[in-house]
Symmetry: C2
Subunit: 173 residues, 2 copies
């Protein structure tokens, strides 16, 4: 059974919207302030002020290491993943599992810290921030799970590229 | 090309030795002290004293969340993974990639914290502790990489179990 059309659409939107979020917001945890445009700094300041995000406010070293990999590995994958999910390419299965497991894993310490941080002013603020981060665990985990369960995530049509290449090889022989 | 025999042996030893390490040492970051045998407490105290491990000494919340998943997910996988690598079972490919990527990812914040922690007394102590943790990044990352590259990690022989099942299905029809 191929992946559900709604899920495919959700994943495409998720990858596309994650690109500006990573470049403009998350990257501020490790980029020098001089490289960040003013409006992005204001957006982050608004987020920290409004949602009391202790991770973006204090930027502990372990959190920065996860942001570094978000920029080095996740960011390029958003383009690859969007293309593959949009065009239904079965070759995304293994890279998609790697992306999904990696990203879901990075959310474990983040959600744990939000759940127990002493810097949260109220229980409600803690809950709101938890639910802001939660989709970044759930969607990558679902991507990994569904790709793991489906040997051909987009059905036989998803092999289009591979069939083409096999044909090319056959011609050369 | 199937997985190298030496690598298979290294992985088997890695899984087997990780079982007591998780149960006796790492689990102390989240288990109540009353559940931990005396000699394990002494071993951990020796490790903290000798290697100045700031993570096992201070046990920050984000670190505990990773230990929780080491117990819930990695520990059962050590048995499954050992069996599959020992018996050469190709079905370990996807679970093995998930295990490898998850575990390698948990080592990123750990190694970052060790690299920059202010609790390390000397540069040499920092280097020693870094190299104590490093294999837990490298071996799982290699497991994930090699399984990702090999559709049949143990060659055709590794399908033994699957062929059996397909045969059963055919009979039922």
């Amino acid at each position: 059974m191929a992946l559900n059309a709604t899920f495919r659409a959700v994943v495409c939107v998720f990858f596309l919207t994650h690109i500006p979020a990573t470049i403009l917001m998350d990257s501020q945890a490790i980029l020098p302030a001089s490289m960040v445009p003013g409006f992005a700094k204001e957006l982050l300041a608004f987020h920290i002020d409004r949602h009391h995000d202790p991770l973006m406010a204090q930027q502990p070293v372990w959190f920065k290491s996860l942001i570094l990999f978000e920029i080095l590995f996740q960011l390029p994958f958003f383009f690859v993943g969007f293309y593959a999910f949009y065009m239904r390419r079965n070759w995304v299965r293994i890279p998609g599992i790697v992306y999904g497991v990696h990203t879901a894993t990075t959310l474990l310490p983040i959600l744990a810290e939000i759940t127990y941080s002493k810097a949260m002013p109220t229980k409600q603020a803690r809950t709101v921030l938890f639910y802001i981060y939660l989709p970044y665990l759930i969607i990558p985990a679902l991507i990994a799970l569904l790709l793991a369960l489906e040997e051909k995530p987009f059905g036989k049509a998803g092999d289009a590229g591979a069939v083409q290449r096999t044909g090319d090889k056959a011609k050369r022989r």
